[in-house]
């Protein structure tokens, strides 16, 4: 599966957070790196949408969608500016 970047989940995250998120800064809970969401390493097409840290590849975000519901796991982020 080819890695994309956080631009690819701009629509999904806008749906989840109700606002544009690709320029928002998130902090990796593993290595502390702070980057804009657009820079996250993103994998689509699995059972869930996965975002990883560009610096240490730790899991930052998992979004699984079922019907009209999104389940969002942000435990890999110590901070996300909304």
């Amino acid at each position: 599966m080819t890695a994309l970047d956080g631009n690819a989940i701009g629509g999904l995250l806008h749906e989840v957070f109700g606002t544009e998120m690709t320029a928002s800064v998130g902090t990796c809970a593993s290595c502390g790196s702070r980057r804009q969401v657009a820079e996250f390493v993103v994998y689509l097409g699995g059972p869930g949408t996965v975002a990883r840290c560009r610096d240490c590849l730790a899991l930052l975000m998992v979004v699984t969608s079922r019907q009209a519901m999104n389940c969002v796991d942000l435990t890999g982020l110590s901070d996300l500016a909304v």
């Binding site: 994309l4 631009n7 701009g10 629509g11 690709t22 320029a23 804009q36 969401v37 657009a38």
Partner: protein, 244 residues
């Protein structure tokens, strides 16, 4: 469910295809009338959703090809094993409906900033960069702009006539053809490499903004070379299409 769009919320809308332009044998630009379109910025994208009769649906993101203030257009490259693009490039006709949501993104955008803009495109990664150049031309911007566009061969170059016109009109446009060059070709040949990036990059002291868009491997290589040249990572905006 119809209704008024709630401010800030991104909702699926149904647009109507107004025009389909053949750009290359495998690339189409599709103009869509979207009744409640909020307007877009150069570099943004939108999501398209196709739904089959049995309810199965597939979504893809496409960069917006038109400039701010123009009708919505996307440029789509046909992928032979694609689930969505063959329908968009081969089946869609003016008058057909298309479900989409957008505009999306606030990172890979150009709003007319005065610092020199360095645009680096791999294949169909040229689409959002074309929107930026188009915006620059339409607003009479004095921002220096330089585009390096990597394509396999000349017939694969999207928007060539328009880009060449920008090249005669203040922007600097160059191509590198990776697989095949026509006889007498005076442009670059071969893949983009570090030497070529050094040639086209504005000096760091001019505080340029770089926008890199294309296949993931292209984007990562180019972004790395720019940072090695001294570009601050925050001045190198990237958008990856995946692919090869």
């Amino acid at each position: 469910m119809a209704g008024t769009a709630v401010r800030g919320r991104l909702t699926w809308q149904v647009g109507t295809v107004s025009e389909v332009i053949v750009e290359t044998p495998t690339v189409r630009t599709i103009y869509v009338d979207v009744p409640d379109w909020a307007g877009h910025r150069a570099g943004q994208h939108l999501d398209v959703r196709l739904t089959a009769e049995d309810g199965y649906s597939a979504e893809r993101s496409y960069s917006i090809a038109s400039a701010p203030g123009e009708p919505v257009a996307i440029t789509v490259q046909r992928l032979d094993d694609g689930e969505v693009s063959p329908y968009l490039t081969d089946e869609l006709r003016p008058g057909d409906e298309l479900e989409l949501r957008g505009p999306i993104g606030g990172y890979f955008v150009w709003d007319g900033e005065p610092e020199p803009m360095l645009l680096l495109a791999g294949g169909s990664g040229v689409v959002p960069l074309r929107a930026m150049l188009r915006h620059r031309a339409r607003t009479g911007s004095a921002t220096r702009a330089r585009l390096l566009y990597s394509a396999r061969a000349l017939p694969d170059v999207i928007y060539r006539a328009e880009l060449d016109e920008y090249g005669r009109d203040g922007a600097e446009v160059s191509y590198t053809l990776t697989k095949q060059q026509p006889p007498g070709w005076s442009g670059h040949a071969g893949r983009v490499d570090q030497v070529l990036i050094e040639q086209v990059a504005f000096p760091v002291e001019q505080h340029p903004a770089a926008y890199v868009c294309g296949p993931t491997s292209f984007v990562e290589a180019v972004a790395q070379w720019l940072v090695m040249l001294g570009y601050p990572p925050s001045r190198v905006k990237t958008e990856r299409f995946g692919g090869k």
